[in-house]
Symmetry: C2
Subunit: 189 residues, 2 copies
């Protein structure tokens, strides 16, 4: 049961966004800019980072939601998501992504853990400055979302179809699409 | 030395905001909404929570910056800031603030640590739903800011006058005031 009254039937961060519109707008604008805006990382790569960080923080609502977005964006390669969550080093992803997930996990635990060697490994595998920046910001942002969702004990549905619907909506219409009419973000990975 | 090239002479999150304008705008809009928008908490109370969380995360740039904002807003009661950082339970703050700082520190560590008893204590001391919501969101948001600043190893100046200038600017002109012309947020605590 949530720590404060929230709209019934609305899950996770959606319940908070429905109830608190002053923060909903910039939270969704931030999600849209970071997860769907210009980047050298594909949208699927960014959603994988978000899912991995949320899983590390054991936030079930965010993990399930962003795993569904990532699967939708990955299409036939959707199995990558569960492989990344169980063991990123053996998952069929690029060396660049493996190096970026190491950085993301350190940011999740404490930003000060990221070393020049971690960054050098990512660069050697092809990550540019924007990829390194975006990885750190995605990890940091999901440390916020995870805490917002769990710190207020919002509802985490068990029904997988809830997350499939969220995944479909964010993949095709972007962040905040429930609250606005707006342009469809590019689907390209 | 920062992990990626950043504008020289710009400290902490400012360097990231100058370099990455797509995320700067929603990050500042979020800061403005949460820290200066409508709330049952005063701006000084919100800055105290932000400072306390940043201190817990050992993010020196954010701690120094928001301590300066809080001191500026508190005026003659500015000493409260260092008292809260060394021991909130004995600091000359309300029981409501003491209870909210307990919640903020739990959110900082892991949102799932917040118990119904923590929330009941805050309510009994006068916190309403919005105060509880805002405390959780402030703590979560600074877990993001702290990680963004430290995960990219941005510059943390030693000169206290840098933080006094940041404190003065945010206290009097709000978040993002370096990047926009806009209304002055209410100073009232």
């Amino acid at each position: 049961m949530p720590h404060i009254p929230l709209p019934e039937g609305e899950p996770g961060i959606v319940s908070l966004m429905v109830a608190f519109r002053e923060s909903e707008k910039p939270l969704n604008a931030l999600g849209q800019a970071v997860m769907c805006g210009p980047s050298s990382l594909t949208r699927a790569e960014r959603e994988l980072i978000a899912t991995y960080v949320s899983h590390g923080n054991q936030c079930r609502f965010c993990t399930n939601s962003h795993a569904a977005v990532a699967r939708r964006l990955l299409g036939p390669r959707a199995d990558i998501v569960s492989q990344v969550l169980s063991d990123p080093e053996s998952a069929p992803i690029s060396d660049k992504m493996k190096a970026l997930l190491v950085i993301a996990d350190k940011v999740r635990r404490d930003g000060r853990l990221v070393t020049p060697e971690d960054v050098a490994r990512a660069r050697a595998a092809g990550a540019d400055d924007k990829a390194i920046h975006d990885t750190v910001l995605i990890a940091a942002m999901f440390c916020m979302f995870n805490r917002y969702v769990d710190g207020l004990a919002t509802w985490t549905p068990e029904d997988p179809s809830v997350y499939e619907a969220i995944g479909e909506r964010i993949a095709t219409k972007g962040y905040g699409s429930r609250f606005r009419e707006g342009p469809t973000p590019p689907m390209a990975e």
